[in-house]
Amino acid sequence: MGQWLLRATARDLCALVIPGPDVAAAYGLELGAAGLRLAATPRHANVLLIVGELPAALADAALVSYAQMMRPRGCLLLGETAPAGLPIGAQAGLSQSGLLNGLGQLRAWFCRHGYQQQVETFCAPLLMPDSASDGEGDDAGESDGRHQPDHGEGDNGRHGSHGSHGSHGSHGSHGSHGSHGSHENHENHENHENHENHEGHEGHEGHEGHEGHEGHGGMSFMSMVNVTKDLPRSPDGLPMDWIEVPFGPLFPGLPGGLSLTLTLDGDSVAGVKAETIPAACLRPPEGGFASGDLLRAVSALDPLTPVSYRLLALRALAALGATVPMPSARRCVALLERERVASHLGWLALLGCQTGFGWLQQRARQLQLACLRGAATDLRVLDKALARLERQVRRNRLLRARLSGLGVMAQQASLRGPVARACAMPIDARTQDPAYGELAFEPLCREGADAWQRLCLRLDELRQSVALVAATRSQEHSDANPFPPGTPSEAYAGEATAVVETPRGEARLHLTASGGRVTAVKLQPPSRALLGQLPHLLRQQELGDALTCVCSLDLSPWGSAS
């Protein structure tokens, strides 16, 4: 019976992808074809799929998510290094065949380990402070549906403000509050003169302010007027409690790795905090980067657009005076444009996921993967498919109604990339590139600056990019690595800057070098200016609209703060 069940479980794998399905797709992984379902939350997943190397922030998220998954659960690592403390069920290479192979291993692993009696309890140091505040596993057990009434008495002083004790109140075990100092008020309460005394409980305001959410602290009777007096008011004049809710780093509707913390007033956004993944790897080691290391570090910076970043590093090194293994100018155009097509399609898939547009999500993902497979797809076929997709999307009245008027950007000098071009600002680093000049490249622009115009602009650019690739008539590589082999020479010094128009806008790399070693690296990634715009852009938007806004900007969380 157990074996039979496990075999059934092993055939139904539901994965939570870290850093996110967008990154997996950028690596060319077809998750659906491998039989995986995607989970929106770790609660519903039984496979934690780790794609590539995780930066520290995401490694923590992986641990937390793993802890929140239900047993039987397994972890599949595609890549080399696993986050510390995570039990790995299966490991394989970072490719489609690796994925299939790894899933096979994982299924076998499930059948072997699924219902083992002696399993170790998973625990990471990161989870501990929290578990202490909630009492050891008080609710996890299905033991009898009631909490032990006496748990955590010793922690009162520290955790009272969480209201963790209050939760017992709702289970009828009122007795457990006896020890709580402020509880006396209860008993006196029948006598309603006490009401006028509520100012006497000022002492509690302290522990209230500590949480910032007055609603929770109250063990004593407090005047509602006092509580609401200082609360911020919503536009309709009601003083409500606001909560901070994390969206990300593993939120399905946002680029994987981007962490938004939204302050929600009901379902309106009252405040935004955005965190990205710090590019720790760009800090030069003792004595500076060797050029090969720099090349590796920069191109691994953003898994969404590895080609652009590699090209950026190559150009920067070339500008320093190094001899670099650079592909021909035409070939560079082809590579960049192909990546732009794939990236825009990946963005469309994310938009589809965010707006619940199933068809768009799947179609765009298919085309993205086809585009990434390179030689396997004929350009004309791709162009035709894109034309169809474009027609369908543009014709969709509901999508238009959803996106129109959302996230209108003001023209600003700091804007770059498609967002700027949708604001009628023809800013494009490609115009300075002579190779593009030969192909008579003109940047496309649109007016309106809302999410719908950004969508339209990206659709236009998709077609334009396919046309550019076709115009270069460069030989398609079936090779995984389209760049010529070899490492740059080590003879250079001085300072230089290189610019590449990545799919999200212009990325600028500034290198300082001496004696053939790069001693300082300064990267200006394309999404930085936009991150600063978020609080203004999302203010008082409805939650769904706010997330669509963020999605429409196509932020990349990678390497944003160096």
Binding site: H195, S223, L238
Partner: protein, 103 residues
């Protein structure tokens, strides 16, 4: 004596009692309205019981039930509207405080 009728009337009486307790004991406008809802619910039970066990042929009884239901809904609509307005201006819907602020 018809036991069904008595049972229904007892239910109505109990609901009325609970509602009355709520109206008198709650300090809060919203909770107070729940008490009123319960009192009206008690009335509903009695009306239906009277219709069923006394005058099953007269549909004015059922009509009366519809009217009471309407009253329940409207009481809520207006009550909550008042609560919203009060909350917006005073930051509270406590009845005690309402008195306090007035005096």
């Amino acid at each position: 004596m018809n036991p069904e009728l008595l049972l229904a009337l007892l239910t109505g009486a109990a609901l009325f009692g609970v509602g009355l307790y709520g109206v008198l004991s709650q300090t809060n406008l919203v909770m107070l309205m729940m008490g009123i809802e319960l009192i009206l619910a008690g009335a509903l039970v009695n009306l239906v019981a009277f219709w069923r066990f006394l005058h099953a042929e007269s549909y004015a009884g059922q009509m009366f039930v519809l009217i009471v239901m309407t009253v329940m809904a409207l009481e809520m609509a207006v009550g909550f509207a008042v609560a919203t307005a009060r909350f917006r201006t005073r930051g509270s819907v406590e009845m005690e405080e309402a008195r306090e602020l007035k005096g």
